[in-house]
């Protein structure tokens, strides 16, 4: 688990995106077996200044050290994974996520996140999304622990 040196994360091309939200629909299918997208999708496409931007987990793993029950782990493939069976729904990871990419939908108390499965990449008709391999050490974040501002 800890040995993972690389991880695939999502890369987004804002020039290509037309805002069809097929990615969100594909994602909510994975997590909630529904194509509602929106709050049930781990990837969110947001329109700002006539352009689209992507809001999704970057697998930094800061949340791992926040979990009191060890439900969050970095898997062998480097992806940060939430085990819903262990999770006790405290939302500590949601509150501390630097990107607000750990999400909570009203359907369940346990949060959910991007697992780099690629279904959004496959669903995108504009090829605006791709999974790229990065080194874990370059993206890894740890929770603030020092004394003083």
């Amino acid at each position: 688990m800890s040995e993972a040196k690389t991880v695939k994360i999502l890369k987004f091309d804002s020039e290509k995106c037309k805002g069809c939200l097929e990615c969100e629909k594909a994602c909510s299918k994975i997590h909630f077996k529904t194509d509602e997208g929106k709050e049930k999708s781990a990837i969110r496409i947001i329109k700002s200044n006539k352009k689209y931007k992507m809001d999704v987990c970057n697998q930094c793993g800061l949340c791992i050290d926040m979990c009191p029950v060890g439900a969050l782990q970095r898997k062998k493939n480097g992806v940060v994974w939430l085990d819903k069976k262990i999770c006790i729904g405290c939302q500590a990871c949601v509150g501390f996520c630097p990107l607000a990419a750990m999400r909570k939908a009203s359907a369940q108390i346990e949060p959910f996140k991007c697992i780099s499965c690629g279904s959004c990449v496959r669903a995108c008709p504009e090829k605006a999304l791709e999974l790229v391999e990065v080194e874990v050490k370059n993206i890894k974040e740890i929770v603030y622990y020092k004394q003083g501002g």
């Binding site: 029950v69 509150g95 501390f96 622990y145």
Partner: protein, 775 residues
């Protein structure tokens, strides 16, 4: 651990590993009683029943929680008071057969989304004070107790042999079992029983077990605390939180209970079955974010816990040093929080219940024990919290490692760090004056700063030493004062002025000399001088926000009620005001943290489905607060005489103290008392001290007058039947008892104000029996 993201399985504390034959230990158990119960789903925060266990008769039964009980007592400590009131007599003392030890939960206890939601509230008749004592504590026991089906556990009677009580949420059974061979000291028995009762040999299974225990010193001392465990899957040790105050661990051991064990079958984020889980997640996430963004600029709870207070208290002359003689000390920087930060293990979620991102429960892992039976072993020390650091300064011990040693042994021996530290500080002061000496202390050189001697005293208490000093010292300051006075070793007034106890309970670690409101916050309390009722020092002394007696009385009404509320619900107070929103200073009443109060309104409503507003929360507390005071009256206490506080908490007892702050006191003689500068200059220090003494004593009595009036009590501090009627308390037995007491006070001339009022001043009411007009 600094680099973070170490897999849970791979973290190691470096502690000494114990190898016990757990199966063999368990085989020695004899089941004395077994009770099976039906699974009940927790609904909107309540399991709907409580568990009764009698250690004498071995009876185990369930009691129903009625809607009326919820309305009158809310839950938590309120339920504890109700169960105790139904079970004891006014003559019941801590070691009486009928005394109960009650552990309760509260409707919000066990919520994982909102920080600080895992407190258990313990209630019993205290050995220190002989009245009702309540003590709150973290750890997993309370939440698990509720999720196995009970809002409270009530323990009555006494076992003949050492037993454990096991509530097994998997089997749906409650058993009383002998436990002859388990260790008694908490850091060991908690580990043994956690391993013994975990369903599988995994950390996740062990995390579903919680153990309550008290160590060997709790058997001999009145300072006994109860250690509540919470298994840490990273450190792989059951960590400990303490129900410290009032000697409840002493009651546990007097009942021959070695431990209580609860095992939860399963639980998740909605095990309380709340009315509105989405709202809970929303509120909790707001708090998590606030803590993430602001804690590092405010209290640094996440990095050093409450220990951050040491430097602040030292700065403001509030850090108790050498038995509260001083509020700051040149050596104090040696025990400032950065010293402990260096020692604490970092980047581990240190909540004492799941989801508490305030994470103030710090530990030092792999600490090498320096003295006593575990010398040389490496252990995890839970803490120190501020109060324990303050005990260090109070005993003039300025070495973080010795404070850790003191902390570790207090915990595992099952004694309260606060009572132990405050009491030893008093013995040390008496030693300095020669009132106590090596001979009188059975060979212990208890001078200030002698950490070795302090630890040796603790080891001797735990070992059951029968030397006269050790036996008396372990019962606390009040008994030692009486012992010194009886032996004519010191002037009675002086000894009483120095010993920092009230109602029989030792003070917690704040110097209150310059804050009258905080003197009331310690003295005008239910259980004794503990800062959990009110902490008004900054409001009063630094911000001067409550200048008049009326203002102070209002604060001594609102804040004790507000803080009581946490205990009715199974909550920790810290997330209320140890992190505050950025906009807090722009609100009308920043001291109340209005935005967080509103959170709590919504929080309680979203769990229980009630429709309460912020006034409703205070009303819930007022009912229980008055009920507890009335119980104290019933037990012969709870009156003005019992709200007495030692002069050391009001002003300078010794010339040395006066001289150390001479400028300040001299100025007060002019400003507050009206002497001219010339007069002050010509007075001797003893004369100045005498004037200050009379003034401050009178100020305290005037404060008591104002507070009693505001709380709806008589001038003798008795809750009035009229007030109880306003609160909707209908208990006829209680109302008749209070009326009788008030009538007796009338005959004895006790329904008179205690303060002496000068020209232009008046007591809160000039009307006799003013309460009779209240509708």
């Amino acid at each position: 651990m600094i680099e973070g993201q170490i897999p849970v399985q791979e973290y190691s504390t470096g502690n000494t590993v114990h190898k016990w034959d757990i199966e063999k230990l368990k085989k020695k158990h004899k089941i004395l009683a077994k009770y099976s119960y039906e699974e009940a789903k927790v609904n909107r925060g309540f399991a709907g029943k409580t568990l009764y266990v009698n250690l004498s008769t071995l009876e185990i039964k369930e009691k129903k929680v009625t809607e009326e009980m919820k309305q009158q007592f809310t839950g938590g400590r309120g339920f504890g008071l109700k169960l105790l009131w139904d079970s004891i007599k006014p003559s019941t003392r801590w070691d009486s057969e009928e005394n109960e030890l009650i552990i309760t939960t509260g409707p919000l206890c066990g919520v994982t989304q909102y920080p600080g939601s895992g407190k258990s509230l313990c209630v019993s008749v205290s050995p220190s004070t002989s009245i009702v004592c309540d003590s709150n504590v973290g750890g997993f026991f309370g939440p698990f107790l509720k999720f196995t089906g009970f809002d409270a556990i009530e323990l009555q009677g006494k076992s003949k042999e050492n037993v454990i009580v096991v509530v097994d949420g998997e089997q749906k059974t409650v058993t009383i079992e002998t436990a002859p061979e388990e260790e008694t000291n908490s850091h060991l028995i908690a580990e043994q029983l956690t391993h013994m009762y975990a369903s599988e040999d995994t950390d996740l299974s062990r995390q579903k077990v919680s153990v309550v225990s008290a160590g060997k010193a709790a058997e001999h001392s009145y300072w006994g605390c109860m250690n509540f465990s919470f298994y840490d899957i990273r450190r792989k040790v059951p960590r400990l939180k303490q129900a410290g105050r009032g000697g409840l661990g002493t009651v546990l051991r007097d009942k021959k209970i070695k431990a209580l064990v609860v095992k939860v079958k399963d639980f998740d984020g909605v095990s309380n079955n709340p009315a509105d889980p989405d709202k809970l997640a929303e509120l909790g996430t707001i708090m998590h974010k606030e803590i993430r963004d602001l804690d590092r600029y405010q209290c640094n709870m996440r990095s050093v816990g409450t220990a951050h207070l040491a430097e602040i208290m030292d700065d403001y002359d509030l850090l108790p040093t050498e038995n509260y003689r001083f509020g700051s000390f040149p050596k104090a920087s040696k025990i400032y929080s950065p010293k402990f930060f260096e020692l604490f293990t970092k980047i581990i979620p240190d909540g004492c219940w799941h989801g508490c991102t305030m994470a103030c429960a710090k530990t030092v892992d792999g600490f090498t024990v320096m003295t006593g039976p575990y010398k040389g072993q490496k252990v995890t020390v839970d803490g120190p919290e501020y109060e324990t650091v303050g005990c260090g300064s109070n005993m003039s011990i300025w070495d973080p490692l010795w404070i850790l040693e003191f902390n570790f042994y207090c915990d595992t021996y099952g004694i309260d760090t606060i009572s132990t530290g405050t009491a030893i500080a008093f013995y040390m002061e008496m030693y300095e004056y020669g009132i106590l000496n090596k001979e009188r202390c059975d060979g212990l050189e208890l001078c200030f700063g002698n950490a070795d001697a302090a630890l040796e005293l603790m080891h001797r208490i735990a070992g059951g030493d029968t030397s006269e000093f050790v036996v008396v010292a372990s019962k606390g300051i009040r008994r030692v004062k009486d012992w010194i006075i009886k032996n004519n070793w010191g002037d009675a007034k002086f000894v009483n002025d120095c010993g920092m106890e009230s109602k029989g309970l030792e003070y917690s670690e704040y110097v209150t000399k310059e804050s009258l409101a905080m003197q009331g916050g310690y003295g005008l309390t239910l259980k004794g001088p503990q800062h959990d009722e009110a902490w008004l020092i900054f409001m009063d002394m630094v911000d001067n926000a409550i200048p008049t007696f009326e203002d102070k009385a209002e604060a001594l009404h609102y804040f004790p009620m507000w803080r009581t509320w946490f205990g009715l619900n199974g909550l920790c107070k810290l997330p209320w005001n140890d992190v505050v929103p950025l906009s807090n200073n722009d609100t009308d009443e920043p001291a109340k943290v209005p935005e967080h109060v509103q959170h709590y309104v919504e929080y309680q409503n979203s769990v229980t489905g009630w429709n309460i507003d912020k006034e409703g929360l205070i009303l819930q507390s007022e009912r229980c607060y008055n009920f507890q005071r009335a119980m104290n009256v019933w037990m012969g206490r709870g009156q003005r005489k019992d709200d007495w506080i030692p002069y050391r908490s009001m002003g300078p007892v010794t010339e040395m103290e006066y001289k150390s702050r001479e400028e300040r006191y001299d100025a007060q003689l002019v400003k507050d008392i009206g002497l001219s500068k010339k007069e002050v200059a010509s007075m001797s220090i003893p004369d100045k001290m005498k004037v200050l003494y009379e003034h401050r004593q009178n100020q305290y009595q005037k404060l008591a007058d104002a507070v009693y009036y505001r709380r709806g009590w008589t001038p003798n501090g008795i809750p009035t039947p009229q007030k109880l009627a306003q609160l909707g308390i209908k208990d006829k037995k209680m109302i008749a008892m209070l009326q009788k007491k008030i009538d007796e006070d009338e005959k004895a001339g006790l329904n008179e104000w205690g303060g002496k009022y000068g020209k232009g001043e008046s007591p809160p009411s000039k009307k006799k029996r003013y309460w009779e007009d209240w509708k």
